[in-house]
């Protein structure tokens, strides 16, 4: 866990730096761009744009809030990408973002007597706010996080917590026996691992799974089978070959014995009544010659 915290910090700082850098690039880039255009005209345009805003303060506040929460959610998502923890780490952020977006998209009339939905979401072709949100919402949908979050109070479901606890237990077991011979590990951790597996397949059946759990399980399984090599060995080659070659041998005996012992089916030929005459014979000869 501590390891994860560290990486999170590192990644966060990285993002900060990259955002700042990109911001600089943009700010540095725009004057360069301006020099190519008639300065007076562009200045006029800019001021005109700055002066006039077609949205009310209320909506602007909402938009700012949305922006902040958006950044917070994305900041949370990125470090949770690997190993996947997007649900357990970021569900609070998503709840907030979702709430704000619901506010924006509701048809309530704000204090200034305007509907923010119309001004923020529908006034241009790009519909940026909608686009941004639908991207994140898509991620949320795809990761099936809904299954792991209980809806009434935003928190992880009991199932998920139980699974995480089990997972932790298994990992502890792995850590305990990791040094030295893996057969020891396979033997000792088998029970906890199997319980985890059973729990997982139950959850799979009940559709109470999100990407976090799937990924954690996948990683665990990979460790179990590939790293520790605890899969079942192929040990029964001899009996399998013996039984199947016995079965393959049976038809040969069957066919041989039926070939030798069963009497061959004969068909009685029937002589049809025919009258080929001189004339026809002559005809054939004529035609052939």
């Amino acid at each position: 866990m501590s390891f994860n915290q560290n990486t999170l910090l590192v990644v966060l700082s990285c993002i900060c730096i990259s955002v700042c850098v990109s911001g600089e690039v943009v700010s540095a880039g725009s004057p360069v761009f301006k020099t190519h255009v008639d300065p007076l005209y562009s200045l006029n345009l800019l001021t005109a744009l700055n002066d006039y805003s077609d949205i009310s303060q209320y909506c602007k506040d909402l938009l700012d809030l949305f922006g902040n929460q958006y950044v917070a959610y994305v900041n949370c998502l990125v470090p949770a990408a690997r190993p996947v923890k997007v649900c357990q780490n970021c569900f609070v952020n998503f709840e907030n973002l979702n709430k704000t977006y619901t506010n924006i998209s509701s048809d309530e009339v704000g204090p200034a007597g305007e509907v923010c939905r119309d001004s923020l979401l529908r006034s241009d072709r790009l519909m940026l706010v909608f686009l941004l949100f639908s991207n994140l919402d898509g991620i949320w949908e795809k990761s099936n996080c809904k299954n792991c979050i209980s809806s009434d109070s935003p928190s992880l479901t009991n199932d998920t917590l139980y699974f995480l606890a089990m997972l932790n237990q298994t990992y502890n077991c792995f850590d305990q026996y990791q040094q030295g011979n893996h057969t020891e590990l396979c033997k000792n951790c088998k029970n906890t691992y199997r319980d985890l597996n059973i729990l997982y397949s139950e959850m799979e059946k009940n559709y109470t799974m999100c990407i976090d759990i799937e990924d954690a399980m996948n990683v665990t399984r990979r460790r179990w089978s590939k790293t520790f090599n605890c899969s079942f060995p192929r040990e029964e080659n001899v009996p399998i070959i013996a039984v199947s070659s016995f079965m393959l041998f049976l038809p040969i005996i069957f066919y041989l014995s039926s070939f030798l012992h069963s009497e061959q089916k004969k068909r009685k030929l029937i002589q049809p009544k025919r009258v080929p005459q001189y004339s026809s014979l002559m005809n054939i000869q004529d035609k052939l010659s």
Binding site: R222, I241, S244, M247, S258, Q264, P272, N283
Partner: protein, 802 residues
């Protein structure tokens, strides 16, 4: 040297020039023989000098004695494909326009005809509905039973993977398969052998105009349906699509008659349809409905009927057949949607659902077409190999494994071996693939794979064949490795080849598709690995589809209908051209080596099947050489005793008798005035329509066409009709009942002309007359079907008792 050639041509008419040359020194061989069974047969007329038939002529004097002894006892030879069985008869497709018929037609009002037309539509609707229901039943039964089986075995394997003892799972799997297959095989082998196999050859023959005994009975249907469930659940390399076509045909034959002879229930409905003409039309509708239910391909179904029975076709009939097909696929769709608890969501039109090919990469490019054609050629080669192997297996089976208990044992062994091979394959496979939500494996087996992965070989083997086909078409690229596919193709090829022809009811469509899909996918993967940018266009699923089409085309050699069926089953018209090209290539390549599987089986069953055209180079054969002669004729007013004797003569099991005007002399052939069938005579005898009786009892009801229909289609044998000694002396007037205008040809008509008449009119008997309208011979289906093109030119098949 010469002797050897002649001995060979004793059984086949291979060497006609030799025959003709030998004919110059012809001894009289069987004149006496023919005299023997002539009660009222004309022996050779004045101009007709009796010599042996052409083939016997070849024997030289020194073997003549030998030959006579052979003629005394019946000659026996092992079964081969160059025989025609006596047990098959033609259908009476041609309408018998006797006086009864004309009377009935006169009595019928225009309203009555309209009602008939409406009831034809009703019957077609019913056919579609019932066929769809049956398909639905089969599908649900197979799904549940197979699901249960795989669930049990899967759990067992999982347990034993952990604790050891997988050989027990193997035995369990094999034992389970064998037990279920035994059930199905017992049904087929002991109760209704005709229900074995896919049933498509039989239906093809029926539509061709051959009456296959018991092929459209209710019992056959029941055995077929349960048999197919057993064989699919029993894990054989078979599909349930072919039998569906047979089932549809039986449903059609049953529904259109409005009664069941097996259940002894007569609903007094659709009585007008109780004759071969109507029944056969409905059977073609039933076959179409079956195809349509099997593949979700209504148009394909119609075209299948068109391809197989097209000599009698008209626009209204086609339209009705299409109606039946549509109803059938709709019914299946609707009831499956109820079963899947999505009532009204019509998304499963057929038993086999290829799934939708929709992603971008499944488009094809122009430069892929040569690749497709090459795959078609491979399919043709593999199909020819399949047919060749199956041909020999089938011959062996007919010759040596003809007892029912042996057949059941064989089927059980095949089932057990299939399980053993599959298990071994899965056990030793190292191909592990991650479980992903998008390729939803129904029964993923982990075995020795790491946790969270499954054995890729198991998806191909440990599944019903339909599902395997679908996963080969649609699984992500990379979900099979080439080695797995190669091994799978190889084993499944031999398993399927071995399985087809067992005494279980099972089709060959799905196994062929599966083999083809496997090697097609392999091609796709190899292409993608060979050329660097091929991974963009070489979608393995697309190549799996093409491979499946190629393999199926190479085995069954259907053309038009198969193309449409494949296109409809994929639901993608874009693939029309590639599939057509592939099927064409496969057919051309395959036909170079051996015929299609169904044709092979038709031949091996010794069915007198008439192909589209008379064999080439047969124009020099005339009706005189083809016909049977002398003919057993009846007089217009005939003594009952004579008729009974003629009918009970077991050595000449004739079905049609030319009716002649009484001739003056005994050796003069009479002038033809009509044709009467055995079935009609039997009905007449049963009702004792004798001249004397009619005279004495004037009140007696006149015989109507209805009486003939009531006896249809199972006319009692002559032995069951009791005729007293007194009655034998009575006379019978056939004028009213015979067909007064039978088709006739002069003696010099060439074989292809006769052939065309038979094929186009669906004739059963064709009377050969001389210039004075005197009967000289009778041509039947068997007389025509025995000529065929062999390796050495025109060959003649032999008649045999089977």
């Amino acid at each position: 040297m010469a002797n050897i050639t002649k001995k060979v041509s004793w059984s086949s008419r291979a060497d006609d020039s030799a025959a003709a040359q030998a004919g110059e020194a012809t001894p009289l061989l069987n004149g006496s023989e023919q005299e023997r069974h002539t009660s009222r047969q004309q022996s050779g007329g004045g101009s007709i000098c009796q010599i042996g038939r052409l083939t016997t002529v070849e024997l030289e004097e020194e073997i003549t004695a030998d030959e006579e002894s052979i003629r005394g006892q019946t000659r026996e030879i092992p079964h081969n494909e160059k025989l025609l069985s006596l047990k098959y008869e033609g259908l009476d497709y041609d309408n018998i326009e006797n006086q009864l018929f004309l009377e009935e037609e006169r009595r019928m009002s225009p309203m009555g005809f309209r009602c008939l037309e409406v009831s034809r539509w009703v019957v077609c609707g019913l056919i579609g509905f019932l066929t769809g229901l049956i398909a639905c039943f089969i599908d649900i039964a197979v799904e549940n039973l197979a699901g249960l089986k795989y669930e049990v075995i899967k759990r067992n394997i999982e347990n034993f993977t952990e604790t050891g003892g997988l050989s027990i799972s193997l035995i369990l799997w094999g034992g389970f398969n064998a037990a279920v297959v035994m059930l199905g095989s017992i049904l087929v082998a002991f109760f209704e052998p005709i229900a074995g196999g896919s049933g498509i050859p039989q239906i093809k023959c029926y539509l061709n105009g051959v009456k296959i005994p018991r092929v459209v009975r209710l019992k056959t249907l029941v055995v077929k349906v349960f048999g197919v469930i057993c064989s699919v659940v029993g894990g054989l390399a078979v599909g349930k699509e072919g039998p569906m076509i047979h089932s549809g045909a039986v449903v059609a034959a049953g529904v259109s008659q409005g009664r069941s002879t097996s259940l002894k229930r007569d609903f007094k409905m659709f009585e007008y349809f109780r004759r071969d003409t109507e029944k056969r039309d409905f059977v073609s509708a039933g076959a179409a409905a079956g195809v349509s239910a099997a593949f979700g391909a209504p148009v394909g179904g119609v075209l299948f009927s068109l391809e197989e029975g097209a000599s009698f076709w008209n626009q209204m009939l086609t339209w009705r057949i299409f109606f039946a097909s549509m109803i059938s696929t709709f019914t299946l769709n609707f009831f499956l949607s109820i079963y899947n608890k999505k009532t009204g969501e019509l998304s499963s039109p057929g038993l086999i659902n290829f799934g939708r090919f929709e992603s971008e990469s499944v488009e094809y490019y122009l430069y892929e077409i040569p690749l497709f054609i090459a795959m078609g050629a491979i399919g043709g080669l593999l199909g020819a190999l399949f047919n060749f192997l199956n041909y020999w297996i089938t011959i062996f089976r007919i010759r040596y494994i003809h007892r029912p208990c042996l057949q059941v044992m064989e089927a059980m062994l095949v089932a057990a071996v299939t399980a053993a091979v599959s298990f071994t394959m899965i056990y030793f496979s190292n191909d592990c693939q991650p479980l992903a939500p998008e390729n939803s494996e129904e029964y993923p087996l982990q075995l020795f794979c790491s946790d969270g992965e499954y054995n890729a070989m198991a998806t191909a083997f440990f599944n019903t064949p339909e599902r395997s086909v679908r996963s080969l078409f649609h699984n992500q690229p990379g979900s099979y490795n080439p080695l797995t596919l190669g091994l799978f193709t190889l084993t499944y090829f031999f398993l399927a080849c071995w399985t087809y022809g067992l005494a279980v009811s099972a089709g060959v469509f799905i196994p062929s598709l599966l083999i083809g899909a496997a090697w097609g996918r392999l091609c796709g993967i190899l292409l993608a690995s060979v050329s660097p940018n091929a991974s963009i266009w070489a979608d393995p699923g697309k190549y799996a589809l093409i491979g499946a089409a190629a393999q199926l085309g190479g085995i069954v050699r259907m053309t038009l209908s198969l193309t449409v069926i494949m296109v409809e089953a994929t639901g993608n018209v874009t693939y029309g051209l590639p599939i057509m090209l592939v099927l064409m290539t496969a057919k051309i390549v395959g036909d170079y080596f051996i015929e299609g599987l169904y044709d092979i089986h038709i031949k091996l069953q010794s069915v007198p099947f008439l192909h589209w055209e008379a064999p080439a180079t047969s124009h020099w054969l005339t009706a005189r050489e083809v016909m049977s002669s002398p003919v057993t004729c009846l007089n217009r007013i005939e003594k009952v005793g004579t008729i009974v004797d003629t009918l009970s003569n077991t050595s000449t099991n004739h079905n049609g008798f030319p009716v002649v005007v009484e001739s003056a002399g005994n050796d003069e052939p009479g002038k033809l005035c009509g044709l009467i069938l055995r079935s009609q005579l039997i009905v007449l005898l049963k009702h004792k329509v004798f001249v004397e009786l009619v005279r004495s009892r004037l009140t007696q009801r006149k015989l109507q066409l209805k009486d003939f229909r009531d006896a249809y289609p199972r006319f009692p044998p002559i032995q069951s009709i009791h005729v007293s000694q007194d009655e034998r002396e009575c006379m019978m007037d056939l004028t009213e009942f015979m067909n007064p205008t039978p088709y006739t040809v002069p003696q010099d008509t060439s074989l292809p002309r006769v052939f065309k008449l038979f094929r186009a009119l669906g004739l059963r008997h064709l009377v050969v007359v001389d210039d004075e309208n005197r009967v000289v011979g009778l041509v039947t289906r068997k007389d025509l079907a025995r000529y065929h093109m062999g390796k050495h030119g025109l060959e003649e098949l032999q008649l045999a008792q089977t």
